[in-house]
């Protein structure tokens, strides 16, 4: 079981760039060890200069966005490498939800499998939210309600977002996907047995005892 996610309330940081890739989200140097500081590694090349000092202009180095729980992103967020550390780095930093007009396929899968909401929003509505947050950073608190499918900022801004029903429910229940799949273990075994009967060659070809390697 994972912690269920029904609501995200917190500061929303604007990063309205298109095609933000997973190398930018977490550079490969942070993939060298299981004990890497992924929170530090998040957007490392944009957040820190060559000496390791913060770049004050980068959004996540500016108050109140330093404690962002929501990232308002651009199209095709998370493209490139399949590295799941991109999601882990966002989470270690404190991000629980990314809102974007579209996501790259593998990042999108990885997000939900870690209990992170990847919310797809209308481009124009999201642009309005980003403009509002940029104009009044002191008022960057945003509330995202999974049940109602609503993103709300103060009294002035309400917008919807899309998330497939099964993903929303899995997030809200905190499903362990492997446990869910293992409930179909009989179907898997039946498929495997039927396939083995139909395509025996496929299994004999890789059987340890079958061939000299």
């Amino acid at each position: 079981m994972r912690a269920p996610l029904a609501r995200v309330t917190g500061v929303a940081a604007p990063l309205p760039l298109t095609n933000v890739n997973t190398d930018a989200i977490i550079p490969s140097v942070y993939l060298r060890s299981e004990s890497s500081d992924l929170a530090r590694g998040l957007f490392a090349r944009w957040r820190f200069d060559e000496t390791g000092a913060e770049r004050p202009e980068f959004v996540l180095n500016r108050p109140p966005f330093r404690r962002a729980a929501i990232l308002l992103a651009g199209e095709n967020f998370g493209c490139g490498s399949s590295r799941e550390a991109a999601v882990w780095a966002l989470q270690r930093f404190g991000i629980k939800c990314v809102v974007a007009p579209s996501f790259a396929d593998i990042f999108y899968e990885n997000a939900f499998r870690n209990g992170m909401l990847a919310a797809i929003a209308d481009q124009a509505e999201l642009a309005a939210l980003i403009a509002a947050v940029e104009a009044a950073p002191e008022d960057a608190q945003v509330d995202i309600d999974l049940e109602k499918g609503l993103i709300v900022r103060g009294n002035a801004l309400r917008m919807g977002f899309s998330v497939p029903a099964f993903r929303r429910e899995a997030l809200m229940r905190g499903d362990d996907e492997i446990a869910s799949t293992l409930r179909h273990a009989k179907d898997i075994a039946a498929h495997a047995a039927a396939d083995r009967a139909r395509r025996g060659w496929l299994y004999r070809a890789i059987a340890p005892e079958g061939k000299s390697e």
Binding site: S81, E84, S102, D187, D195, A205, P208
Partner: protein, 469 residues
């Protein structure tokens, strides 16, 4: 009357264990390949839950991402990578999974060894924790690149729960011109259709120019499906495919070969099959391609000039283009040909196979790498390295001044020690030209192996067709 099925639909449907709402299918995985940098947490997760590996006999593990590529390497050659290398070895051993470490004759980049071992076969589903798994689509296999949670899911269940992708076909019409490679075809397609064109789709590459390609070239085309935004890319198997697979260690043999071959011949998309998106590109006018920016769609022919962001109507595209030019240290209107390079890298799952090294060696032969250029060749696998050495390619490269290294991902992902220095310009045969991809501040231009060798001996980007004759 119902329409015939596409290649993708035939393979996918044969693997559906169970359908779920939301267009999701539970898909059986025939082969699972592991690499050391994306699976340690998956094994830890299995251990926490007390779950066994469902089918270790259908699983292979190797080490490629973090390994040193020093000529006489040991695991200790990259001390920073020891933790992940040892975890991979220990996890494979604990679960009875075949493991090809750096001492093994079968070690290499996951997407290079899958085909060369015959672990990837037409009509099969192959999963791997790496986004370039679609490479094996060149054999008509469905290669699915997954994250670490999905690696754990495959280990525990031998299945993947996936959103059924939409179908898409890209027809490569006409024939490619002399001096133009498979890499140029796929880069040109990415330039034409964009890096998000294939999102949520499985792409079938078809048309006369694809049919004319050898298997290694088809692997190059399918490799860059993720650079079109697609998780899946494949090419129908044919006689070329069967000839490539015959006799491979994990390919069926004897009577089994005949059974398999009959199935493989029936996989091609039906003539009346319909694709949800059908695109075409004319190959005849495609010149050798070079990327100028920081995404793969920022690509032009070597004879072209760098586009001016001011001509773009969309403000976000204008901003992005200008930022890419700033990062790359280039100006609009500059010719890409003549641009000086500091590093040349030949290798990777895109272009690290024998035919790639042959293409580079054909240019390097009898020439010298320009002073001040570091030129590096990293074979995609131990087997590629042996085959290249048997043909004397290592000598050709060494005599020309290239480094001849040991197999691994190396400067494509730069998780090991192989990095491009800050500000340095690298012509690479790899697949990603993102900011900092080859090291902080590195500037990457993607191109073919022949173009890479040409840049190394010329000291600057040059149209390889001027050297080939």
């Amino acid at each position: 009357m119902t329409r015939g099925s596409t290649l993708f639909e035939k393979v996918w449907n044969a693997h559906v264990v169970k359908r779920f709402d939301g267009d999701r299918d539970l898909i059986f995985v025939d082969r699972h390949i592991l690499q050391e940098t994306t699976c340690a947490p998956a094994f830890a997760g299995l251990e926490r839950a007390g779950r066994p590996v469902a089918h270790p006999e259908l699983t292979l593990a190797t080490q490629d991402h973090i390994v040193s590529t020093e000529p006489d390497r040991t695991e200790a050659s990259n001390p920073e990578g020891l933790e992940l290398m040892r975890l991979m070895r220990a996890n494979a051993q604990a679960h009875g999974i075949r493991h090809y470490g750096i001492e093994d004759t079968r070690q290499g980049i996951v997407h290079v060894i899958g085909p060369e071992l015959g672990a990837a076969l037409p009509g099969t589903v192959l999963a791997c924790g790496d986004s370039h798994t679609s490479t094996v689509g060149g054999l008509g296999a469905l290669g699915i690149g997954v994250g670490t949670s999905e690696v754990e899911h495959v280990l525990a269940t031998q299945t993947l729960l996936l959103q059924r992708p939409k179908t898409m076909r890209i027809r490569f019409e006409g024939g490619k011109a002399p001096g133009v490679s498979a890499k140029d075809l796929i880069l040109a397609a990415i330039g034409r259709f964009g890096i998000a064109a294939g999102r949520s789709h499985a792409i079938e590459y078809a048309g006369p120019a694809i049919r004319a390609l050898g298997i290694e070239e088809r692997l190059t085309v399918c490799n860059m499906s993720i650079e079109l935004g697609a998780r899946l890319g494949l090419i129908a198997p044919d006689d070329t495919t069967l000839a490539y697979l015959a006799g491979r260690p994990f390919a069926p043999s004897g009577a089994d070969w005949e059974l398999a071959a009959a199935e493989w011949r029936a996989l091609a998309s039906a003539a009346d099959a319909v694709f949800e998106r059908d695109l075409a590109i004319d190959c005849a006018p495609i010149a050798p391609q070079v990327t100028w920016g920081t995404t793969q769609e920022d690509v032009i022919g070597v004879d072209q000039r760098i586009p001016d962001p001011a001509t773009l109507a969309d403000p976000e595209r204008r901003r992005r283009s200008a930022a890419a030019l700033r990062y790359m240290g280039l100006a609009p209107g500059d010719a890409i040909e003549g641009l000086r390079v500091d590093v040349v890298f030949v290798g990777s799952c895109t272009n690290g196979r024998l035919s790639d090294l042959e293409a580079a060696a054909a240019i390097a032969r009898g020439r010298k790498v320009k002073a001040d250029v570091r030129a590096v060749v990293v074979p995609g696998s131990a087997s590629v390295k042996r085959a290249a050495e048997a043909k004397g390619l290592d000598r050709v490269f060494r005599e020309a001044g290239f480094e001849w290294r040991s197999p691994g991902c190396s400067m494509c992902v730069s998780i090991n020690q192989d990095v491009v220095p800050p500000g340095a310009r690298c012509l690479a045969t790899t697949n990603r030209n993102f900011e900092g991809r080859q090291g902080p501040g590195s500037r990457t231009h993607l191109a073919s192996p022949a173009m890479a060798a040409a840049a190394a001996v010329n000291g600057a980007i040059v149209d390889v067709r001027k050297l080939a004759s």
